[in-house]
């Protein structure tokens, strides 16, 4: 019984993983087409439920290298009310965000890195609405 349980659980996990890949990979592919004159490095997928209290956020740590111009492109998934607010952070310092002071959005963040180290990409959804998004990290060919 225990063995059968493990096999079914494995099938279940496999099915879930395949489903998740199929849905979010489509958005990654679409988003990657919009990075322009840049070379794809990584993609990050985010999904956050709605919250009426303080907007929940997710943080991804990333090592960026000196002498490279990075680009973070953000794409929101259809069918969700939320628009992704992406901040590039250096420890506790916000280096920049894709959301302007007036609440409108920029299509990407570019970062000319001059110090190799750990930075973080912080993602939340505007006004705590539910949202799903993809962020593509690429570098700009100089």
């Amino acid at each position: 019984m225990k063995k059968l349980f493990k096999i079914i659980l494995a099938l279940f996990i496999g099915f879930q993983v395949n489903q998740t890949f199929a849905q979010s990979d489509e958005l990654v592919n679409v988003c990657a087409l919009g990075i322009g004159n840049a070379t794809y490095l990584k993609d990050y997928k985010f999904k956050i439920p709605a919250s009426s209290v303080s907007p929940p956020s997710l943080k991804i740590n990333v090592i960026l290298n000196k002498g490279t111009m990075y680009k973070i492109t953000v794409c929101n998934a259809e069918g969700y009310a939320g628009e992704a607010v992406v901040k590039l952070m250096d420890n506790a310092t916000v280096l920049g965000s894709n959301m302007k002071a007036d609440g409108s959005f920029l299509k990407a963040i570019g970062f000319q890195c001059e110090r190799t180290g750990m930075y973080s990409i912080n993602v939340s959804f505007k006004n705590g609405k539910d949202g799903a998004a993809v962020a593509i990290l690429s570098y700009i060919n100089m």
Partner: protein
Amino acid sequence: MRKNWYKIVFISIVGISLAQMSCTGDGSKKKLDDIEIPEDIFGDDKPLLISQEAMEDIIDNISSPVEMAALLKSTGVPFSQKLLASTDNIDDLNTNFKQALNLGILGCDLGYLNMYEKTGSVINNMTAIHSLANELRIGQFFDFSTIKRLATNNENLDSLMYISVSSFNNMDLYLRQSNRSNISSLIVTGMWIEGMYLATQVVKEKPKKDVIERIADQKLVLNDLILILKNYKGDSKFVDLVIEIEKIKREYDAVKITYEMGEPEAKEVDGMLIIVQNDKQYIDISDETLTSIINTIQDVRNKIINL
């Protein structure tokens, strides 16, 4: 009691799975036959030295081989076929340990080939990658036919690069989600070693300042790399690998990195926020230290490909 619990969970999972399958649209439906079940999906139940989350964070952050290849190309150093690992003895790699390390090495070489648009040589490299990925049961994430078509027709090199890199990212993600981070850590180690090998061999011939700095920068990554490998110290092969990587780390002890912090500047250009960092980074690495690093990386890399 325990038996009943298994039954309840079993029935719940089957029920949820059936419900989900019945709700899936035809267009996106995948055959259940496509799903592979890794033998070690349940792991070895041994506690990790660091959390799974921390592990993933580290694996995610080992430098991309594409960035290293881009740096080499940007310095004007020409492509060198002789630097690449041979694909002749792929069939002799008879354990997942060797296969995963060499998959990482060949993955890095693929990035180097793509960067220099050497699409003719890509086919051999890809065939070997495909074979190793299949042995590791992650071949389904490597879109071999599309990559082969793009490489053969020398068309759309950006797409070739994107599909190559994202195939590796998806393999890595799947391995971690299916509790095979040990394989993932080996692939990443292979990639890192090969990236360092390419960079150090280039520097040996032409000591370019930017490349030397990038090599020195890797001091930041080394501790993390050792940390993830030590997670599997119950396996003697991992212990041996850590001993090799620690040889490299010892050579890095003499590398000094200092910083001068500045205020970043930001401006909006064509709908994009451009941030320019005004920090300064200073690297202190002597010629002797660099030579020692070059030689040690070469030794370790050659040991790995001749395992």
